[in-house]
């Protein structure tokens, strides 16, 4: 394993005639890597200490003072003046025999067949077995040294040696991190779901496949983050391999989240929306039936950097032959969200087009009204009609897997009413995409309290004025843009974003801030200094002035609510534009 901080003492040696020098303590394998010389290995990984059990990396070493022997490259530490030869006849014979022995043990392991080809082994002359494991010990050592879980170990001796959990019972030490499956050279270890323990499917893991990864390709800043829930270091305190391998020493496990106080003049809230979780709608069977996915999950399938590299796959890894898209799941619905989420129709069309393009599956779209309101939207809809997508006008009532005849076997059957032909229909499909509603964030209530801008009945922020001030809110300096103000698609969101930014820029550009007109004023002669008003003001805008012995209003802070004026026992404070005189005059005028 190369030491990151190379110790000063350098060692000079020769590998296959090419000379090289590298740090003391490095191995022949390190030297070979430096020179690009290929040495086959099976039980080696840089993750843990070399074990030298498979002996495949045997090479010949010639000592400077004469003599020499066959050693394993992965753990033989280099010293001055040795000459290494990695491809002599003897070495090829030895490696050939080792491969033949392993192939006799595990006849149908691909990695061994490739090695056999390379070393010219046509026929295995030895007695065959039916094993899959070559006992290289990678899984055991990674589990112990790197992961620190010690869930598995070798058991038995000599020919009955095998990899096992204690008493062959499912081990409670195993943290299902999948490290053993990753390092197994013959790929015979699988990570399976057991009693609901969290597992990572290779085929369709919607979660991050690695514990340290970029949130997504286009993330800004483009820096990886550690998913502490899956990272082994945070579970067993061991591993730490990413820190070892990062030559910028950029990884520090002790860093904690910090809250930073930033003084700003304006705030644009673009907190976006949340997708409605359709599992509460039992009739669609999301979370219960396989291959019923939400629109966001389907988008993740299509993403080139996603788990399936952009291919539309079912959970068993196969390609669907028929896909259904159900609109208005939770939207335009009395029991859930009355409003229309606006964007589903258009992305449903996009998905239909993608499915037609990527697979040769039939596509069914269950809609109520096709709302193609934008530029070029309607034309796109007609194009879809030509592409042969089946549009069924009628809300899908239920998805079931109960098949009543053979061609519905193993399929998801969508029960719906086709209002255009006035008939109930059962459509068997392989996969169903639910266009679920866009709803406000769970924490919108919290945010509205903090920034004192009110929430509409649909949970989205209320703009100051629907027509005249769509991106500002009742509190000055606080603006809203995008999904948090209501369901909208990307063009509208971008437009609102620009608008909010413009609003902010105009405020910043003006240098001074307009003070609130209607603020409170203290009449110092009448003020008795009782400080009662200080307690009333939520913005601490009224302070008692020690020398003057009276309370004074801070004009910049006062928002003009007038509570202090109402509470002052000696009417020493008056709220401009809402003085008592004016109110009384209004009362008299009204009656």
């Amino acid at each position: 394993m190369e030491e990151k901080e190379a110790s000063q003492v350098l060692v000079h040696l020769e590998v296959d005639g090419k000379s090289v020098s590298l740090a003391e303590g490095s191995t022949i394998l390190d030297a070979a890597k430096l020179l690009g010389v290929q040495i086959p290995t099976l039980c080696y990984t840089p993750l843990v200490e070399p074990y030298a059990a498979c002996r495949l990396c045997s090479v010949e070493v010639e000592y400077p003072r004469g003599g020499g022997k066959v050693v394993t490259a992965c753990n033989y530490q280099v010293w001055d003046g040795i000459k290494v030869r990695t491809d002599t006849d003897k070495i090829r014979r030895i490696r050939g025999m080792i491969v033949e022995m392993l192939l006799a043990r595990c006849p149908d392991i691909q990695v061994l067949k490739d090695l056999a080809e390379e070393y010219g082994i046509e026929k295995v002359r030895l007695e065959k077995q039916e094993e899959g494991c070559i006992l290289c010990g990678l899984c055991v050592r990674v589990c112990a040294e790197l992961v620190g879980a010690h869930a598995i170990s070798f058991a038995g001796r000599g020919l009955d040696r095998r990899v096992a959990t204690p008493y062959d019972k499912s081990s409670d030490a195993c943290i299902a991190c999948g490290a053993c499956a990753l390092v197994c050279p013959t790929k015979i270890i699988h990570v399976e779901d057991q009693e609901g323990r969290e597992i990572i499917h290779e085929e369709l893991s919607l979660g991050p496949s690695k514990a340290i990864t970029l949130p997504f390709m286009q993330a800004v800043p483009n820096i990886p983050y550690i998913d502490t829930e899956h990272c082994i270091h945070f579970q067993t305190g061991e591993c730490g391999y990413c820190a070892k391998i990062c030559d910028r020493d950029a990884i520090d496990y002790e860093l904690q989240e910090e809250t930073i106080e930033v003084d700003v003049g304006n705030i644009i809230m673009a907190t976006g929306f949340e997708l409605f979780d359709p599992s509460v709608m039992g009739q669609y069977g999301y979370g219960r039936l396989k291959n019923v996915v939400t629109s966001l999950e389907f988008e993740h399938l299509n993403c080139a950097a996603g788990p399936t590299g952009g291919r539309i796959l079912m959970t068993d890894g196969g390609e669907p032959s028929s896909v259904g898209i159900i609109h208005c799941v939770g939207s335009r619905d009395e029991n859930y969200y009355k409003y229309c989420s606006r964007v589903c129709c258009m992305y449903a069309l996009k998905y239909a087009h993608l499915i037609k393009e990527k697979t040769d599956a039939d596509v069914y779209s269950f809609y109520i009204d096709m709302r193609c309101f934008g530029k070029g939207y309607e034309e796109f809809y007609h194009r879809l009609l030509e592409e042969g997508v089946q549009f069924i006008r009628g809300r899908a009532a239920e998805i079931t897997d109960y098949a009543i005849d053979s061609d519905e076997e193993g399929k998801l059957i969508v029960l719906c009413e086709d209002t255009l032909i006035g008939a109930l229909r059962r459509i068997p499909l392989d996969m169903v995409v639910l266009c679920s509603a866009m709803k406000s964030n769970e924490d919108a209530k919290e945010l509205s309290r903090i920034f004192s801008c009110s929430l509409g009945s649909d949970g989205f922020f209320i703009e100051k004025h629907p027509k005249l001030a769509p991106v500002s809110t009742t509190s000055d300096g606080v603006f809203i843009a995008g999904g948090c103000q209501g369901p909208k698609d990307i063009p509208d969101t971008v437009a609102q974003g620009a608008a909010a930014a413009a609003e902010v820029l105009s405020l910043i550009d003006r240098k001074e801030v307009e003070v609130e007109a209607a603020i409170a004023v203290v009449d110092e002669d009448r003020c008795s200094g009782c400080k009662l008003c200080n307690t009333l003001c939520p913005y601490l805008a009224v302070k008692y002035d020690e020398e003057k012995g009276v309370s004074v209003v801070n004009e910049a802070l006062c928002k003009g609510c007038g509570t202090c004026a109402a509470g002052c026992p000696s009417n020493a404070i008056s709220a401009r534009h809402f003085e008592n005189r004016q109110i009384f005059a209004e009362i008299e005028g009204l009656l």
């Binding site: 209320i462 928002k559 509570t563 109402a566 026992p569 809402f578 109110i583 009656l591």
Partner: protein
Amino acid sequence: MSFEPRIVGFLCNWCSYTGADLAGTARIKYAHNIRSIRVMCSGRIEPTYIMKALYEGADGVLIAGCHPGDCHYQEGNYKALRRYMLLKRILSEYGIEPERLRLEWVAASEGERFARIVDDFTEQLRKLGPLAIKESIAEAMKDDIDPHEAHNVESGEADEA
């Protein structure tokens, strides 16, 4: 023609006034008996305003503010609630039925709700009948002072319990 009570409504600018405005833009029908005054916050309303309104001939006063926690100025509506509680007790001493004063929380989106409150308050006052406090005071004090100056009498009471 049945008795048409006159209601003075003090509406906070951020929630109730906007709610009332929404009822209007949403073309919701509701009783015309209310005449509203906009104040920046329900916390701005002094008990003297209510007494003034009743004195000037209002048969009922409605105070409308933001739902607790929604106040644009954080705590204004809490202060209004306290003053309202105290004022209710004093009204009966003046011989005014406490039901003539009513406090409601109306959010900016609750145009519908505002309308219903006004209709309901109107019915309630219709049952109570006219207040005409001004005449009864004049009646009782016929002999000594001129009622016009009465409203300048400072009648502060401790706000904070």
